[in-house]
Point group: none
Chain length 191, copies 4
């Protein structure tokens, strides 16, 4: 009975994160004001400050919650032997991770200038470097190193910039993943 009003008790923090991420992804971090978030939630700005100390903290909390799978992936990858198979599996899993928190990663991708100045900039960079270090063999040829990094960027671009290549999203994701996996394979052909 009632529902919304009832269910809203206690989950305000979560609802703030949801709405904020939605708006951040849609319009960017700077162009999204706390007033806007508050209005969409039908609470006052001050209510946001009950749950979060600053605007930035809202973003940080979202990032912390949603980016754990990357941490896990990096941890897993580090524990594996640095083989072709491991690397391809990392790429596969990363593709899943991206798809599982698309709005966050779309936001990260579209707001790099902003993100760089924020706390999450450093955090994200570290996770990204973690991934890279798993995929890239520092002894390898520079071209092959680039191939591995390129696999990563292909995944990202595939998520956020291929909306007009037609084809349904799932088919697109598969195609993108195949290219990425293939890039890793090429980097291991010989050397």
């Amino acid at each position: 009975m009632d529902g919304t009003r009832q269910r809203r008790r206690g989950d305000t923090r979560q609802r703030i994160q949801d709405v904020a991420l939605e708006l951040f992804a849609e319009q960017g971090y700077e162009k999204t004001s706390l007033r806007e978030i508050a209005e969409r939630l039908e609470v006052t700005k001050a209510a946001l400050y009950y749950h979060f100390k600053t605007k930035e903290e809202i973003l940080v909390s979202i990032f912390e919650d949603l980016s754990r799978p990357i941490e896990d992936l990096v941890a897993w990858g580090r524990a594996q032997p640095p083989t072709l198979e491991t690397r391809q599996e990392v790429v596969r899993r990363y593709s899943d991770v991206l798809a599982g928190a698309a709005p966050l990663f779309r936001f990260m991708h579209d707001n790099q200038a902003t993100v760089r100045e924020l706390r999450i900039g450093e955090m994200f960079k570290n996770r990204a470097l973690g991934l890279r270090d798993i995929l890239v063999d520092p002894e390898a040829d520079l071209v092959d190193q680039v191939r591995c990094v390129s696999a990563l960027f292909t995944l990202h671009a595939g998520m956020f910039a291929l909306h007009d290549l037609g084809a349904d999203p799932e088919a697109r994701r598969k195609a993108v993943l195949e290219v990425a996996v293939d890039l890793i394979a090429q980097a291991h052909r010989d050397g």
Copy 2:
């Protein structure tokens, strides 16, 4: 003799563009205020408005000046037969174009959320789609289409996100270009 004061006569418009691009690329568009630009130039904000109607127009003018080579490249590409060689040459030339106006393209890459709302968003998108249409064969396999687009993104990423792969910039650029050219080649292997 004297220099600064003397030479400044008449080139204020250009100096505004230079400083603005520098700051936009460094801190992002929204976080760069006209006050900051004016101060760095040692003129008043009002002087900026003598030369440009709005903040956005400063950016537009920079974009128009610096993105002409892309237009030219698209035009050239369209006039060639849609062969492997053409496409690889387009990739090569695009790499040069990016290197030739690196600060602008770094800005575009880092501020996509912002750019999308601005007039240059549409402009840039059109140029990008132009390039894509030259590189991508709509009849080809989806995976091969992705390969071609990925070549483009590899170029971009190579410019703006590989600063820590070590190696000197020129070597890096060559490696990136090789990967991109190779991606195009693979997309043409058979099919």
Copy 3:
């Protein structure tokens, strides 16, 4: 005790309206800045924006609050038979209405060019036309129609432009009203 600080709690919105109307009437809408209003109230400009969305909204809110009596008068007038007596009574009541919100109507009278571009321009015009339609018989002789409208303008002018005819304000108002009532009577002499 203390008073000012104490009493100010909760009535800020009203105080903004009061001070704004005072300044608008004194110096005009355009020449009155929000800084001025804020300073006189010893609050910040931002506080004004907590209570009103724009400068224009301050004016609109004042107008809506103070012009209700005209609406009521028009409604009353419409419900009466269109006789000489009705019309004279409307003129009498209008004189009271004007006297009851003199600063607002002085403002409207003195700032017509400005008001015309604002939201209240349309609102006021509608109320004025409502009054006119009650006073003016569209079948009547043009000269008699003008007499009725002139009665209205005489009232206005009497409020705002006769300060130097000497005599005390109340006597002046009575004289003005008599002229206006008489104009209506003449318009009904025969016809």
Copy 4:
């Protein structure tokens, strides 16, 4: 041959006045910027300053040029005996004067708050008082004094606020004039 360009030589001052009055009457004094005037004339703002020392001076010069007929009328009126006939003739002539410089008087009527702060405020007030002193007999009944002033305001209102009474402008002007002349007559009935 050519024409515009040719004829424009030498009459810039006049053209500034024309355009300025047009815009002042249309949008008000404050809302009309020198940029706007300059743009419409296809000259630079600085050119305006070659011909006039300030924005206000543009208005003053217009007023001085166009309000001379009032001065003349006042002078003429003062030289006549203070009879009913004189007064009615003054009203008739004033109606002509208003019609002859309608944009100026429409401006004065619509921008009273602004005008009051400007140099022309005082000038206009003096001319108006001059007229009033001719029309009003200080010995007369207050009501009759009001009638005379009301005749003046009827003329003004007739010019600027009766556009929707229908009827063609000339018919309207005649009707308005008749009411005004009649008001003067009533003020002289007995007394």
